[in-house]
Each structure stands twice: as structure tokens, then as C-alpha cells.
């Protein structure tokens, strides 16, 4: 039995990618695997949105890409967090935590 999956709310994809990359450089497939694993298969990133998001973040200068060898020694494109990306992650994480805490508080109180 597969666990029930949740569609990613708007705008959360970027923060998930940035957070995953804060652990170290990764290629695209590993990013989606890692998110899926850590969320116990609840969150699953569609390839159709993962790659455009990676390219967008690269353009914004939050992550940068270089080619390297994968764990099974294949040529793969690795993404890593830049200095501005780290700052961005901190800001977004902070905002996200405040938001969820506030939303949770409201939901519990009513």
C-alpha cells in the first residue's frame, strides 16, 4: 500500500530544493529521491516541475551547476547552493515556519 501523497502547495518546491541542496551538491534525480525519502513518500516532485525550477533557481543565482561523476560513475549535472542561495533559504525557511505556526495556531484554536 502506497502512502497517500500530497500535492506540493504553490511556492514550496523552491524551498524544498534549496533545503535539500544545503546538505551538499546533488543532481536532479537525487533531489527528488531525497525529498521523497525524507517525507516518507508523502511528497513527490514531478519531473515536469523539478527541472524548470532548477533552471529558474540557477538563473536567479541561488544555485549553480557543474558537471561531475555520479555515484555509479555516470556524467551528471550537480547543483549546489550559492551564498545568496543560503541567505534565500534562511529567509524562506523562516517565513515558512512562521506561516505554518500561525496557520496551525488558528486551526487549533477554532
Amino acid at each position: 500500500m502506497m502512502p497517500e501523497r500530497i500535492d506540493l502547495p504553490q511556492g514550496t518546491l523552491d524551498i524544498l530544493i534549496l533545503r535539500t541542496l544545503s546538505l551538499g551538491p546533488q543532481h536532479g534525480w537525487a533531489i527528488s529521491e531525497r525529498v521523497q525519502q525524507i517525507s516518507d513518500d508523502v511528497l513527490r516532485i514531478q519531473q515536469g516541475s523539478l527541472y524548470p525550477a532548477l533552471h529558474r533557481l540557477e538563473r536567479q543565482g541561488w544555485i549553480k551547476a557543474k558537471w561531475g561523476a555520479s555515484e555509479n560513475n555516470r556524467r551528471a549535472k550537480f547543483y549546489e547552493l550559492t551564498r545568496t542561495g543560503q541567505k534565500q533559504l534562511a529567509t524562506e525557511q523562516d517565513a515558512w515556519e512562521k506561516l505554518t505556526a500561525a496557520v496551525g495556531q488558528v486551526l487549533r484554536a477554532v
Binding site: Q47, Y51, P52, E58, R59, S70, K77
Partner: protein, 908 residues
Amino acid sequence: MLSDLYIRLRSLFRRAKVEVELDDELRFHQEQQADKYMRAGMSRDAALRQVHLDFGGLAKIKEDCRDARGISILESFGHDLRFGIRTLAKAPAFTTIVIVTLALGIGANTAIFTLVNAIMLRALPVRDPQQLVVLQWSARHWPQNGISSFGDCASNQRNATSATSCSLPYTLFEEIQKQTNVLSDAMAFAGPSQMNLSGDGAATIAQGEVVSGSYFQALGVSPALGRTLLPDDERSGAPAVAVLDYAYWQRAFGGSPAVIGQTIRLNDTSFTIVGVTEPEFTRLTPGKSVDLWVSLSQAPHLGKQWAGRSNPDNWWLVVVGRLQPGVSRAQARAALDLLFVNATSHGTKQHWDKTDNPHLDLLPAQDGLRGIRNQYDKPLMLLMTAVGLILLISCANVAGLMLARATAREREMAVRLAMGAARRRIIRQLLTESLLLSFLGAATGALLAPLGVSGLAAFFSKNAWLPLQLDLHVDARVLLFTLAVALVTGIGFGIAPAFRGSQTSLTSHLKGNATTTVRHSRVQMLSLGSALVVLQVALSMVVLTGAGLLLRTLVNLRRIDAGFDTRNLLIFDLNPQLAGHKDEQIPGLYADMQRQISTLPGVNSVSYASEALMDGGYSSRDMKIEGRSDKSKVEVLTLQVGPNYFPTMKIPLLSGRLFNSADTANTNRALVNRSFVAKYLAGRNPLGMHFGGDDPQDPQWEIVGVVGDAKFATPRSEDAPTAFMPFTSGGVSFEVRTAPPPATLMRAVRNVVNSVDANLPVLRMRTQSDSIDRLLFNERLVARLLGLFAALGLMLACIGLYGLLSYEVSRRTREIGIRTALGAQRGTIWSLVVRHGILLVSLGAIAGGGAALALTRLLTSLLYSVRPTDPFTYALTAGILLILGIFACSLPALRATRVDPTTALRCE
């Protein structure tokens, strides 16, 4: 952001590499995923299939990635462009028609704009022209002193309530030059005027300007050779030196460096050439061509008595200053205005009453020095409006063609939509195509424009009073204008068809039975096409009406009774004083000329007068007339005439007698015209009455005869009271009445003048018709061009109508076939099509007539004895449109009558 720019640029210029990397990246992901599935126990085939299912459309992801990298606009523009070129190349007939239509529309705009740019917009070709100001005064009345001007500033006819001029006395210029706290430099000039130049081959006429010694320094104009004038040259008693204009130096002296130090004679005075100006300095006042400059201190030696320096009553100089850095125009104005008001309203001689409120203004030299802009501003704006209308017509025309083409491409659009193309991508593609067309049209138009420009320039020069300086080279502003027009045009005619094209209904087209299901959208498209045709007809009607009104004006002006015979009359001017003749020798010289010219074969009679009639100029004096109770003076036009003047001009004698050999300048006998009698001596016998100035020293003239009225200055002049006196001295216009066409005698007459005095140049030899044509220049210019544009507009509108109806007939083939099969007569079918055409033309004519009523008011000042709402012209224009419209319809209508019912019914 730097990464942003880097990635965009990399996407653009390393596109192949970026694409390969994207492929690699996605393939790596797929393989990893497939490995994972296989580890979970799937077969390789099943794993790959599952990966493809997970991924969805790979092309879509790639497109999204490209979008995310921000490459799409530039890159897809490249795609669109290549695709557009291929598509247009596949339809050469369509492409050619569109490009030619646009080339005519845009080319006409570029041509007229080149003129507007040269005459109205181009910056003065001097150093930092924005710092230059021209001094212009205004007051409620004209001051009571001599003012001369050469038309540099805004022209202001003498009228009772206001006076504006740039002419200032030398004494004030000296004061202004001292105001270095507001003006870093100031210079003054007057001219150019004709100077008789000898000492370099045969005597010629040069346009010479007298200027202050500071002229070139103030403008920042350097010499190409030798030196320019310096302040020291203005000193009284300084050596007489001249500076040549670069183009004149090339033209008249062959560009020889040996001219420096050469002596020339100007109006019989020796001048040494000291320099040539730099070639960039082509003009100061728009349109004025100057051949050489001399110091204004030399003016009295050149016979220019109006150019006195010491007399504060003599106002003749235009003063231009350069603002000190950091000083605003308002600050400088305040300082100089004070100076001006003090000098003219106080002191020994007062020029004005307090109530006249005289004050001085500082205008930017670019606006203040107007020159030929006074004359051409208005017609140029009219023509710019007209070419704008023509461009609208060509846009509407091309939009009609694009619309028909969009219908033909509905299936193509449906396929692209089905393949997942976004509607905005399709709009962008279609707009790229129309922009491609408009830029190709603009390029062709820009190549055609110089032809039109040189034609126009020749027409301008041929009709100018003085040599005309027009710098018509294509500069950045003209190019920018053409590019902007191309852009606006491309979007203008492309936008509706593009949106229409992207709204293609998908399924019906792919099913192949589009004809039945999309009728709705086609009906809309037809009505849009019809609206475009109506617009074209309406705009053509506006231009055609304007042309018609001006043609009627020209006919009216040429038909007017001038009061003298304007045919077979050859005119030329002489100014013997400039060639060194003394006043007392002049009457003998003229008598000699008169006698010798009249012996030429083909010459019927010869006379001369102080001015030629209907040649633009006139002179008048305020006089008192005997027996009139009121004390006020009245304006009388005056003309000094030589022997045999009235028979030569064929002005009839109404009563009394003409001059005879006993009437001289000192006998104080005069003739007056019919208007003089009617206005000032009504009901009395004019013979023996006296008139004259109110100064005791002024001669009182006795009227010995009355002659018929003749137009004096221009064909539009009202018949005005005129007095004729015997000729005394000065320059003249000779009038030669010929039997053959007058132009054929030009050489012979010139030879006679040369044989009498080789040093006396013949000035402005022309026929009376030339003079009249020149006076009617604006009317002729606008009439000609509006006529040309109207023809162009009509042609385009007819092509548009023809195209629309042809398309409609081909679309309705089936319907027409059924009607024919059911027994409709050919006439019925014919009128079915033609009726639609006539309906469109009529709607256009009504709309156009309404627009013309509003727009032709702009023409009012050019019209003569025809109102802007002249019903005859409107009816005629509408008639022409209707007839041409029927012609344009008849071909598609004929094709409709030839539809074979059996083929038609099978064709779908």
C-alpha cells in the same frame, strides 16, 4: 543580476551546447529512474515505459526549462523569423504586393519627413547650438523709425495691434555685446543680399551677408582654409576682407587654395579673400544660402545705405547671443530687456509711448531663426497629415490582405494549436511575420524616398526667390522615424489578423468540414474586411477632396483678371548702382536698353518700372488727398513707371491722358487707378485733383489720368488704390512684351543688356507666368502632392475592394452555383456582387465626406474663392470614387456570373 544576464546570453549564443546539456541532464534522470524500477523487479522494457509515463511530454519539460532560463523570447524570435521568411517566400505574389504597398506608404512618409527634418527640425550646424539665443522684440505698435529685415524671424505683417521683429540698431548691439555676465558671445548679421561680384571672370551675383566681427567666434565656426572674420575686421578703416562659404568656394572658385589673398570686387569695391568656412557650416537661418561674408563696417561701401552704424533709429541687424554657462534664458532676458526698454523708451529719442509696452524676448536660435519655415511650415504639416492618411490606407489595405490570408491558413493554425502551441506563441509568430513585411516595406520605401525627395527639392528650388539651402541628407532622425513608422505599421496591420488567426476553432478544421462549422467566425472576418475597405475609401475621399479643393483654387487663381495681360511678358531686373553707375547716368542707360531691346525681332514693346507686378513685392506710402474732409492719411500703393509702360502692360486708360515726354520726375503729375478714384474721390472728377505726403517738402501730385485696376503684389491681392509716377532713379524691372513665347527671347535680351554694359548683371530673368507660378507655390505644391497621394490612395482602395470581393466570390461559389442552377440570371448575380461593392464605397464616401468636412478646414488659408465645404467638389469626389468602385467590383462580379453550377456544387 549577473547570473541572469550570463545565463540568458549563454542560452542565446551557446544554444547548441545548452540544448545538448539539457538533453543529457534529462536522460540521466530517466536512466536513474529506470534503474530504480529495475532494482524493484521490473523488466527493462516495463521500467522504460513507466519512466516515460512518469515524465509526460519530454518536449514540454524542455520548453519549460528554456522558458525558465529566459531564452525563449530571443530564441523563439529567431525561430519565428526563419519560419516567417520561409512562409513569405512560399507566397511571392502576396509578399510582393504587401511590400510594394507598404513601400509606397512608408516611402512617402520618409520623403516628406526628410523635408520636415531639413526645414524644421535639424539642429543648427554650429558649436553647441542649444546655447544660442536670438533677440526678438515685440510691442503694441511699430516704432516710428526705419526697420529693415531679411525674413530671419517670425514674419509679422504690419498691423495695428501688435509688432514683432528681430531687427535692432547697431548702437544697441554694441551695448548687448558688453553684457558678458549673461552672454559669453554676441554677434549680429544682416542679409544675405545680392552683390555684384567681378574680378573672377565674368560679373556674377553672389549672396553676400554683412556680419559683425564676432560672427564666426560666437557661432564656433572654424575656417577650412585661411581665417574667418575677427572682431578687428569690424573696426572702421580696417582692410576690406571677405570669407567664402565652403560650397560657394567649391562651386565658383573650383576649391582652389590659391583664393586666399586673391582680390575680388563686390559692388565695385575691392575685397581680399582671407578664408573659407568649414564645410559643416551650411546655414544659420533655415533655407538661406550665403556665399560670402564681409564685415558690417563695409556695408556703406557696398551701397547698402540702410546699414548705418551710428544712427540708433536705423534698425537692421539680427542679434544672436551665446548664453554664459549656468545663466538661464530668463535671467539673460531680464538683463537685456532692461537694456532694450531703456534704450528705446527713454533717452534722447523715444521710439515708443509707455502704453506700447515694448519688451525683448530671447528665443532659442533653433526656434527663433525661422527663414523659409515662415513660408513652408503650414504646407509641410498639411503634407505630413496627407502622407499619414496614405500610410493608414496602405495599412488598412495590407490588413485586408492579411485577413484573407489568415483564413487560408486556418488549417495550419489548427494543426499548430493541436500540437500544443500556446495561443500567444501563435500571435507572436503572426506578428513577427507582419513586422518582417513592414520592415521589408520600409527598406524598399527608404530606397524609393530619395527619388521623391530630390524631385521635391528641385520643385522647391525652381520656385524659390533666392538660392535655397536645403540639406536633405538622410540622418539618424530620418532613419529613426522610418524605423518607428515600420514598427507601428507592422503592429498596426498585423494585430487584428494575428488575434483572429490564433482563435481558430480546433476540432472542426482537423475534421475537415470547417466550411460548415466556422461560418460564424468567417462572417466576422468578412465584416472586419469590409470595415477595412470602408476605411480605405473614406481616407481616399479625404485626400481626394483636399486635392480637388486646391485644384479648383488654382483654376480660380489662374482665371482671375489681373488687369494687365500676363501672357507673353518677359521680366528681368537691373541694379546699375551696384555696378558703379551714378544716379544721373541711369535714365540714359535705361532709355538705351529700351530702344535696343525693342528692335529685337519678336519684341512688340518694352518698358520698365520700379517693380514688377504680381511678383510678390509692393511699396506703399501714407498720403493725404485733396478735398477729403478727414485729416487722416490713407495708404496708397506707388509705382514709378518708365515711358510706354501702360501700352506695354496693356493696362487701359479710362480718362484723362497717359504720361508723355514732357512729364518728368519734377513735374509732379501722376496717374491713379480706378480703385483710387472709387475709394478716395468718389463722385468727383479726379482730373486736376492733388494728393501727397503731409510734410511741407513732400511733392503734391496732380492727377492727369485714370487707368484700370491691376493686381499689384500677388494674384490674391485686392484691387487697391494705386498711384503711378514717372520713373526717377534706382533699380528697375524691365517688362518686355513679346509675340512668340517669351522664354525664347531670353538669350537675345540678355545679349542686348551685355552689349550695352558687360559689367551689368541681368538679375532674375523670368516670364510673368513664372512669377505667378512662384507666388502660387504653396498652392501648387500641396495640390500636386495631394493629387498624387489621392491617386495612390484611390489605387490602393480599389485594390482592397477588388481583393475583398474576389475573396467573397470564391467563398460563395457554392451559393452562386445554387442560385444559377435555380435559374438566377447573369444580371442578377452581377448586381449581387456589385451591389455589395457599391454599398461599401457609399459607406466609405459618407464617412470620408464627414471626415473631409472636418479636415479640409486646415486648407482654408490656401483656398481661393472656394469654401472648404464646396458641394461641387464633394459631389465630384464621391462620383469619382463610385465610378472607380464599380470598376473594381466588375471583375469579381464577372467571375461570379461565369460560375458553372455543376462544378460549384461539386467543389465542396
